[in-house]
Amino acid sequence: MKWKLLAANYRSNRLLYWMVFPVVVFVIIFSYLPMLGLTISFQDYSLVKGIFGSKWVGFANFADFFNSLYFLRTFRNTILLSLLNLLFCFPAPIILALMLNEVKSVRYKRLVQTVSYMPHFISMIVVAGLIIEFTNSSGVISTLVTALGGKATSYISLPQYFRSIFIVSDIWQNIGFNSIIYLAALSGINEELYEAARIDGAGRFRQMLSVTLPGLLPTIVIMLILSVGSIMNLNFEKVLLLYSPSNYETSDVIMTYVYRIGIIKQKIGYSTAVGLFNSVVSLLLVLGANKLSKTYTETSMF
């Protein structure tokens, strides 16, 4: 009997059980209780009546969201920002790692690495502050643009520039730090494989295609699955710091909408429903990406 085995296991390892107990309780309270709280997305929730007293409304909150003007805008912006992120921010550190890998001087390589990690450690508030400072009407970008004959303006508040600014600053902040994992994978590639390729007459470029890239592939795939999984959870704190009603058209994403409607306007049931929609899509994406990769590359996370 399984319970008997467990009881016996407990009797001989009491201390282990008591050590892990508080952590399990902690996870139940701070991770699983909020999951139960998701039921309020099916309620016309009122803070006073609570979860057991509020009226059940079925899928009405979801229907409200899908029928609102906000659905199309926030969903489109979330997906677009994330896809741009995948397109530009994802390959950037791979390219940087490949470039660093060619550097012979250990000291130069170390220097570039150290410096490129730096932006990762700067707080989002400061990064957003820098972005605002550089893109405002008297900032560096405006100075540059006026020198080229354009006009000085606050570029971040214009909807047509929001995405570019968001993506470029993201590359800046993470390119170095995200290259670490690829550099580690590169250093793990067996030197003999290169030797064999050289003997077979492969040039530098051929070696990269036939040895380096296959060696990097498992890492790239894992990172890609993780990125796909976070499509719906893009850095909304950064959006929150940079967006304003003037650029909502391109900047407002689902999570910032949830924040505004839930925390500021206190429409709890409705905003929970919108948030749940976001989490479910996110879960489906990561499961899908994992399955695809399992089928085609034999690399998967679980």
């Binding site: 701070f30 550097v103 220097l111 700067i122 976001n278």
Partner: protein, 293 residues
């Protein structure tokens, strides 16, 4: 074996080195600009726009003197230090204890509990239910609202558990034969040989807490409990001078711009001074986490 470099290869290497230099420069430049501006002459700075990689003479430290005189900045600094210190302590305690138990082969439910915890990485309640939990627990305007929700991170658990599993069993067994219990083994054997992993996790947790602002912004209305980042947000993002006004007379606009730069440096410098020393451990921490994740 020394391979003679071809001319094409040499060109490639040079171009590569130059491009990397540019990348490095681009990463450094914005902070260099802030640093230069923070000690530049404020009135000239207001007139000369653009990028400053070198401070404008006459150099001045009055911005820093002013910043260190603001009570809000000092309150924020003290609060942030509090959150970082206790947050790191909580995180490390919960994570090492859980990782130790879950790495034990003789602990029967280890895999089940691991699954139970790992699931929270894939799916969670999300913003609003978490917010409600804190409201219902009566933790609004309580420092615990900042410390508790971030006190345990499953990702760090995975990293630490993997690293504990790599420690040879013999080390533990000999201690057990000498009569040591699990807590003693964890403290005297496991932790001392896992310093590298602990260092990376400490750094990542500390940086995360130092830079965190969102939870504080929704849970704390009491300014005396605000972390530094929230005062920074007021100064840098909301462009309000409220954080700066208390205790000092309204200064000239140029002066205030100078102060902005100084605040950024004061709030960022501690972290920028620490990470290069732990850099060599990054690879280990990140690798373990992503491969077994």
């Amino acid at each position: 074996m020394k391979i003679k470099e071809t001319a094409g290869r040499k060109v490639f290497l040079t171009v590569n080195a130059i491009l990397l230099g540019l990348v490095g420069f681009a990463c450094l430049a914005p902070m260099l600009h802030v640093l230069s501006c923070s000690i530049s002459d404020p009135s000239t700075l207001a007139r000369v726009q653009g990028f400053h990689l070198w401070p404008i003479a006459p150099f001045t430290f009055e911005g820093y003197e002013t910043v260190l005189g603001y009570s809000n900045i000092l309150i924020g600094y003290a609060n942030t230090l509090f959150y970082v210190a206790f947050g790191v302590l909580l995180n490390l305690t919960l994570t090492t204890v859980a990782a130790y138990v879950l790495a034990q082969k003789r602990f029967m439910p280890a895999n089940k509990i691991m699954l139970f915890m790992a699931f929270t990485m894939l799916f969670n309640g999300g913003l609003i239910p978490n917010y409600l939990l804190i409201v219902k627990m009566g933790l609004i305007d309580n420092r615990l609202a900042i410390l508790l929700p971030s006190a345990f991170n499953v990702f760090n658990l995975v990293i630490m558990r993997t690293s504990f599993r790599e420690i040879p069993d013999a080390l533990e067994e000999s201690a057990r034969l000498d009569g040591a219990n699990d807590l003693q083994i964890l403290w005297h054997i496991i932790i001392p040989v896992s310093k590298a992993t602990l260092a990376v996790i400490t750094l990542f947790v500390a940086v995360g807490l130092w830079n965190s602002w969102f939870t504080a912004s929704i849970y704390l209305t009491d300014r005396s409990k605000w972390p530094l980042q929230l005062f920074l947000r007021e100064i840098l993002i909301n462009n309000s001078q409220r954080s700066l006004d208390t205790g000092v007379k309204a200064s000239a606009l140029a002066q205030q711009t100078l102060v902005k730069y100084c605040v950024i440096i004061v709030a960022t410098l501690p972290i920028l001074c620490i990470y290069p020393f732990l850099q060599k451990y990054f690879v280990k921490g990140i690798m373990i986490g992503s491969i077994k994740g």
